[in-house]
Symmetry: D2
Subunit: 311 residues, 4 copies
Amino acid sequence: MSTFNASANGVYLITVTPFKDNGDLDLASTDKMIDFCLESGVTGLTILGIMGEATKLTADESRQYVKQVLARVQGKVPVIVGASAPGFAAMSELTKSVMDMGADGVMVAPPPTVRTDDQISGYFDMVNETLGADVPWVLQDHPVSTTVQMSTGVVLRILKNSPNCVMLKHEDWPGLGKLSAICAAIQKGELKPTSILTGNGGGLFLPEELLRGANGAMTGFAYPEMMVEVCRAHAAGDVERAFDIFDAYLPLAKYEQQAGIGLAVRKHIFAQRGVIASAAIRKPGPKLSALDIADIERLTIRQQKKLSALN
Amino acid sequence: MSTFNASANGVYLITVTPFKDNGDLDLASTDKMIDFCLESGVTGLTILGIMGEATKLTADESRQYVKQVLARVQGKVPVIVGASAPGFAAMSELTKSVMDMGADGVMVAPPPTVRTDDQISGYFDMVNETLGADVPWVLQDHPVSTTVQMSTGVVLRILKNSPNCVMLKHEDWPGLGKLSAICAAIQKGELKPTSILTGNGGGLFLPEELLRGANGAMTGFAYPEMMVEVCRAHAAGDVERAFDIFDAYLPLAKYEQQAGIGLAVRKHIFAQRGVIASAAIRKPGPKLSALDIADIERLTIRQQKKLSALN
Amino acid sequence: MSTFNASANGVYLITVTPFKDNGDLDLASTDKMIDFCLESGVTGLTILGIMGEATKLTADESRQYVKQVLARVQGKVPVIVGASAPGFAAMSELTKSVMDMGADGVMVAPPPTVRTDDQISGYFDMVNETLGADVPWVLQDHPVSTTVQMSTGVVLRILKNSPNCVMLKHEDWPGLGKLSAICAAIQKGELKPTSILTGNGGGLFLPEELLRGANGAMTGFAYPEMMVEVCRAHAAGDVERAFDIFDAYLPLAKYEQQAGIGLAVRKHIFAQRGVIASAAIRKPGPKLSALDIADIERLTIRQQKKLSALN
Amino acid sequence: MSTFNASANGVYLITVTPFKDNGDLDLASTDKMIDFCLESGVTGLTILGIMGEATKLTADESRQYVKQVLARVQGKVPVIVGASAPGFAAMSELTKSVMDMGADGVMVAPPPTVRTDDQISGYFDMVNETLGADVPWVLQDHPVSTTVQMSTGVVLRILKNSPNCVMLKHEDWPGLGKLSAICAAIQKGELKPTSILTGNGGGLFLPEELLRGANGAMTGFAYPEMMVEVCRAHAAGDVERAFDIFDAYLPLAKYEQQAGIGLAVRKHIFAQRGVIASAAIRKPGPKLSALDIADIERLTIRQQKKLSALN
């Protein structure tokens, strides 16, 4: 059983939130998806992120969903909940609520309003104050969605000032140089041990990132087993195999990373794989066209051939 | 007693949310502030907007605050509640909750993610679906905060497609030309009657906007009586007096419109006028320096002299 | 005769670029405008900025215009040329060209691509390298147009690293606190003497900024004499008179600051005052409507009355 | 010999601009690179785009570079020159200059300031006026760099209003749906024949885009022969082979698409392949680390193995 702390590694999967065709929360599919994730070998779960359609849930539904996930996971892996919020009152309320239910920690990204180094760093001082002494948390560095550019120096500053921040979700772009610099700071003892999981482009740089010193991935993908196997091959010292596995999935992974329709692709494949009952997305959300579905089919067949050739 | 419908006019004041020095919601000051607003002659109130620190309240506090305001207003003027939300579930939840408590309508601005004419217009189709047939609402056009640029054509399209949208809060910048075009469309019968209230720069263009056909203002200012008197003078046909009153307040109004510290200025003056007990702002929020306070003092004394000269 | 160095003060006027009705560069009006500015008492001129429609000139026209201005000014006041450019080759080329013609310095703002403190500061290291040891320059801090947010710390860092940067054009918003902090750093000797001219909202905070320690204004306005007189009254210790003069012009200054049509308002008034022959703006550019012109007329008459009452 | 008109297809390669280690323009490498491109089978060239470091050249250097390219190409394929500019005077000047030298057309993207459908469409009316009746041009739709979101409707409107716009460089993201809609409009005769070349993510969706109806690619990549072969396989009806070739190059193509360091990767590989003498990039620009170079080496070896297995 893995724990959510600074030595966490492997794959923290960012899950989708299953809905029925009529738009209702699908709790049966939630159970099935959790089982699927655990069987895939993920070492953690992150829920209620952007890709979890968090903003499309009512407060009641959020609570219900978190409860369902936690009940099904039964502590087998840590569960992290997205807690970025426009205000600290809501962040505090949500955090207290999910920690009371049994979540292992929360994840926070900076709001688009902070821009300078001091503003960003000052914001996370307030986050620390808000979360308090007992909540371990993940710092999310994702400029593409937040528009906030955190220099390596600022990331280090935040991590130094945040005793309970045990993990960095690194998804700056391009990020390999930044990743190397942060890992070097840890290695040299300039920074406390911190788990570095990467999410760049839905894991599109995973094998390269592991070589730079990342401890694993935190992102979503319709084939979580790919990320698990890449991490395992890397950990076993078989770098070429890590790349071989990765390359087999790359064309579909790339297709799933299309901004705007990525979530629809992921849910479509999950539904096809029987992981969830319906690919329904709540409004506002994209719909796949027949051509999109044909693309996915072609890429899936090609992927299966490559995987067969691999094994 | 004024009603919230397409013939609304005068001043819908955007209120602050009073806190105690210790950061708690200050319900006694809320009552006092409501009384002050009603005595000032406002014809409506808008609560839980950006200037109302809405995002810094917990869900419980929001409900408590709305309840308190509605109880004190006793239906003397309409009360509108800000309902912009990152998702429709939250928008629906909040709207249902405040309408059940007795609010008169809600106000919705587009999210920063919609950019093209079709995306913007499509978004408000979903807003209409979300709010349903029974909730009258205000369309807020405020590019400075939303980054969404709605052309005159798009505003007209949304208003045409939205049977329950009875009011436009116009605060595009520069907006006089757009305002004239929208008012002309109503005059020519190309658009159903719609109340047009303006908020540009905290009312910094109020007398000019009334001349273009606006029906009044929806914004905040530490001296709501200025806006009330400007609207009354304009309605009475005394354009020069409308400008005279306005000009007396302009230097302080301008000072209060500084991005970032405006709310602190407004609460400081409200506290000094005895409208609220404390000027406290919840984090993250600005604090006035001694020099800022000296500026306000000087401008206040000068304002009083000008007002004396006027009457 | 004033010099462009760290002790510069007063009003560096940002000029418009006069065109004929047919769109050609109007050199006769250029001469007239320069004479008008000098008679108004400005202590410097800044040309080829955004409000000078710099990007709408061909390279030849730019050279011709700079030459004409310099020839007419005859060294009576310093002339600064806007040299912000998407690349250093163009910045270097333009700077060399205008300095050879006799300009006194250039002005540089950061490009929108730099975001973190280090990126911003690093950019200006390259600016220093590009401009070389002999070109005095102005640092322009204008987030509204550049989207670059420079903290006080970053501004101080750039000024410390830039031996030839003798002036800061301060137009952050809200900027009074930042202005106070920078002036304090100079006073305490933490920063070399630097001329601080302000441009906020076209000078909309000029009397307040002078009180905070600014040395004058660098901005444009159809009535430069207002800024000159405000600076003089302030320098003479008559703060109330500085505000009195300012307040008389404020309604029109505010009107001229409307984003999008401001330049059209300024050129319209200049044309009416006989400063330039035509109010023509090159495409893409705004046009005033009959209602806009009526607004300006009303505000002008009111302004004249206030000025008469003042003197 | 291919012509630049509405039936253009294949690969219009976006070239880099070669510099010597000392930063000077490298005209010998320019010749070598042109020869390499022509031998690779490209059907057109696009120069002085963002990836061509256009903004880092002086006006003289730009002219010299265009002249050198045109002299070497000798009309074997069309040469398009990037002409996006902050103002129409510069656009007109540059266009006239390069067309006089013998370029086949120019490419124009909208400036970040246009936002609404009408603003975007109106901007291109002025582009048409600026370019005049004799200059064929390419419309570049690249929201990632311009921040301008053009709906399908707006793209069609611009193409309809622009008699000399013969080509669309499609690189919206996600763009497959938009691409299908535009191709359908041409097929149905709702839009005149127009060449649609795609550039998404440096060609990361090329085989999918060809299936949607694109006529080829306009983008840069260190292995232009990949794009040429993919287009040929697709044209020959061998869709699976198009994907096979593509997949072999995808890991390196993905690596080269990293925002910020992509150009450095491309120039590094070009230098290693002997296409240019130096990988030098003018400031401001990224530098590859030893780890980056090791990544490229590994990916290159893996790519060679896959290509061997293919043939």
